[in-house]
Symmetry: C2
Subunit: 222 residues, 2 copies
């Protein structure tokens, strides 16, 4: 007897190795999706994220695809050591677009996710974008994600052939504290995630990403 | 006296080095845009396109940006030598999605164009997509391009700050013959363009792209 092919719906999950993307992966698994994870090397300051993404994908039992690209024109402090990372207080986060903004980043990430989805026949792209406790990036908000979903349907083989294709952003309207609580409920290994922009041995505790993360854990009562 | 900064509107033009993208570049220059050209190395069978793109950008006097990436999962015959290129008659082109389809390619290309546009403050992304004498790719059609434009506006710094951002596809509704005539009218160096998928010393004359191109020149009376 041969094993019947899996009938599970497939999803491509963007997995940076940070808190939000990890909770999103565990959310997709909890929803019954068969997941492929996708991560990027695009000249970040450090490779700590990739190490986390690999460990998390292994623990989740999903395949991790790594796409490498260079963005020669990016002036972001996330990819350039010449620029200082912003270290503002949490209260000020969200006022304007910060220097960590990588132009068009989520569009590039989602475009590659769409390509993989079209190749493997996945019907969902899962992204940990968050518009509440967010860093002021324009490509983390619901209206943008819905517009990309429409383009993805129209511009893919899956969509052109009448198949389903959705962009799912389960965290888009949650606070960081709610994300921490959801992660605990889903038994996601939050201690293995990496959020710090700087990427030393330990999180710096001062960058926007650390500040938001710490605030989330504190507000979740941890 | 110092020279005043240029007030010309900027555009990012996708330039593969083929006929359509070259005519699009000359069209954008004719419309008065200050252009940056963008091309990709993503594991194509050959580098002949890149050579053409460099020569064309030089002749146009525009800067050419090259983005390299790998698409490990692409099963396209354009990027895999294991698959045969389709060599159908022109009459059959357009019936279904052919093996040269690279999943999500135009979305990936436009996403990088958006990133560059957001970095340099360009207000237009110019793409030589064509939905008439086309090869059956879902991401070459008007509704897809308009949906991407909306996502680009919502997901970019330029759009978020109220700036203009348009996706311009000047060839989308033209036949290949009309594209050839437009190219001649704009004095674009069509003889320097390269369309063949195979990439030898001379065009193969048999792949979809050669067949469409030859048909265009013949119908334009050349």
């Amino acid at each position: 007897m041969s094993t019947p092919p899996s009938r599970k719906r497939k999803a491509v999950v963007l997995l940076s190795g940070g808190l939000d993307s990890t909770v999103s992966l565990w959310w997709a698994l909890g929803r019954g999706f068969s997941c492929d994870a996708l991560t990027f090397q695009y000249g970040q300051r450090h490779r700590r994220e990739l190490t986390s993404a690999r460990a998390l994908a292994r623990q989740a039992g999903v395949r991790l695809h790594v796409v490498r690209f260079a963005l020669p024109w990016s002036g972001s402090s996330l990819t350039s050591r010449r620029k200082a990372l912003p270290t503002r207080s949490a209260g000020k986060i969200g006022a304007g677009i910060p220097s960590t903004y990588v132009p068009g980043r989520n569009t590039i990430f989602l475009a590659f996710a769409l390509s993989l989805a079209d190749q493997i026949g996945a019907e969902a792209l899962v992204i940990g974008a968050n518009a509440v406790d967010y860093s002021g990036y324009p490509d983390c908000r619901g209206p943008y994600l819905r517009a990309f979903e429409k383009a993805a349907r129209l511009g893919s083989k899956t969509g052109a052939e009448g198949g389903k294709l959705a962009v799912l952003a389960p965290l888009v309207n949650l606070t960081k504290a709610q994300i921490v609580r959801l992660g605990r409920k889903l038994r996601a290994p939050l201690e293995k995630t990496w959020s710090c922009y700087a990427g030393g041995r330990k999180p710096c505790g001062a960058c926007d990403s650390c500040v938001l993360r710490d605030k989330g854990f504190i507000e979740a009562g941890e």
